[in-house]
Symmetry: C2
Subunit: 331 residues, 2 copies
């Protein structure tokens, strides 16, 4: 059986193996992605982001447990967790979180956990995350929780990938955290103040509320912020004690309903696919360009740069001068 | 006077204006960068990174003050601070930090502070940071302190840009911070435990030391980690009280001596320029490609993606099929 077929048939080992193939961008992985692609587009992609120390991982675990438990009369939702761990760009990492998770979630066939470490390659993580999420979507997981640590570009990338973005904060994380929040708020569909039993929770909430109000006018016009007509709820949790998780899960499902009713589900799907395509195009064009340069020629150009004989723009001009607009496409 | 000449002549207003030009990647900015490029390569580029709440900004301010004060008999070192603030990818930000800084450093003509907000564009921040640093280098700043918040890709980018990378930690920032450290350590030339008057400082130091030992074997072979023969010192500071700053400044200067003695200064310069060139090439190739597509055609491709009629790889194949290796360059 081909890998894609085995994944569609629900084989976990085949799924794990295929995820490694697509992470490594092998020809087999690409072929399987093509085969699986018609089966994608059904999962609810939920991004969870926030600074280190906010307890994101605990919250993600609790959400996964809750989505499994609250199945009611319908078949239980299948939940996948993609933990994007930028901790070790050079050697790979993402092991600690897994071990903690395994205690609670292991053995449940309706849960699949995948950790990914940033490879340090520009565009690499964005490409491989999109691919991993597609495989899990095709494999029938209904909710895919995508967790990242960090501030900045990674949050923006999550907002582009996910239908719903949860931003997690915690009281008392330090003095420069205020500045961070202002930007993160712009991508938040749901705000969670975790560790709400800590001192300072009222201050954190107050700061978030006033920033939410500030952020509101600018958001609607960017098209990338939260959907119009949706006011991001601000929720308290104590994930380590399992408190407040129901309200977060309910907000996730309310946001899905909102997006679908407002026609934004389709918009976010298209925006995500466009972003994925453009990452692929960038990488492909660059790889082909690099193939055209001999190592000796490239080394001599770099030596000229180092000696300040040629500027980066002058080298750029030289190495791309034959690439006119007409030769770039048949259009 | 052309902008580049005014900058070389030390005019601060011209410098501020040119930085805006190069951040916005205008033709004037590119022309000035070409003109200034022969004057670059002299500054010591020092990256400072760490999670929110570690007090990086205070440390950077204190280092700048110290470098200004410890001039001794020689002319004082000119210091520039580039604060890369990913806080607001959509609307721009980076104002709070500035205001705090101005109290201590404003009015000193030997200090120049520039805040940059991530634009949310892939490769955009890397390109504009490299350009801003080049202008400041040409303008005669001896030490350029480049500060980023966050974990992950931004640290890797700093390590590629800087000669010396300082990683700042602080006690008690939370439970998932351990996982972060493991990766950040691999890019650290100097480790600082700031807020060393807080409880838990011994635990933080112990964890860092054991991770340093673990990280050592892998580092030498990657070529991107700290230079061989250099053991990253682990230093305590209380930046808010100005304590421990001298030792950090001394380590920065010792690392510069080490790099120059070991021939790694040149290597890092070439690696930085190569990275900068490749960012430019990626952006240029992508922009030219996008120009070749009509809006209607692109919209129809995206609709096919959304309807799962074509996979991203199939669209990629179609939109890049005419770009053969031969047409990409005259090589």
């Amino acid at each position: 059986m081909r890998p894609a077929q085995a994944v569609l048939a629900g084989e976990r080992l085949a799924l794990a193996r295929l995820l490694t193939q697509v992470e490594n961008d092998t020809p087999e992985g690409r072929a399987a992605l093509d085969e699986l692609f018609p089966h994608t587009g059904r999962a609810h992609l939920v991004g969870i982001t926030g600074s280190p120390g906010t307890g994101k991982s605990s919250l993600v675990n609790q959400l996964a447990l809750l989505f499994r438990r609250t199945a009611g009369e319908t078949p239980a939702l299948k939940v996948a967790i993609v933990a994007i761990d930028p901790s070790s760009p050079f050697s790979g990492g993402a092991l600690l979180g897994d071990r903690v998770r395994m205690r609670d979630l292991s053995g449940d066939p309706g849960v699949f956990i995948r950790s990914m470490a940033s490879r340090g390659a520009l565009g690499g993580l964005a490409r491989s995350t999109a691919a991993v999420v597609q495989v899990l979507d095709a494999a029938g997981f209904n909710i895919i929780l995508i967790e990242t640590v960090g501030a900045g570009q990674s949050e923006v990338d999550i907002a582009r990938l996910a239908h719903t973005t949860i931003v997690v904060e915690a009281p008392g994380l330090g003095d420069d955290i205020q500045a961070i929040k202002a930007g993160i708020l712009e991508i938040a569909d749901i705000l969670v103040v975790n560790k709400a039993d800590r001192p300072g929770v009222e201050n954190t909430e107050r700061a978030l509320r006033s920033m939410l109000e500030l952020a509101n006018p600018g958001r609607a016009s960017t098209g990338e912020g939260p959907a119009e007509g949706w006011t991001p709820p601000l929720l308290r949790t104590i994930a380590s004690a399992g408190e407040g998780i129901e309200a977060v899960a309910a907000a996730v499902q309310a946001h899905e309903q909102h997006l679908k009713a407002a026609g934004r589900w389709r918009e976010r799907d298209i925006a995500r696919l466009q972003n994925e395509l453009e990452v692929l195009v960038r990488e492909t064009l660059f790889a082909r360009w690099k193939n055209t340069l001999s190592e000796e020629h490239y080394a001599s150009l770099l030596a000229n740069l180092h000696e300040r004989k040629l500027s980066p723009y002058q080298v750029l001009e030289e190495v791309t001068k034959s690439i006119g607009n007409k030769s770039m496409s048949e259009e």
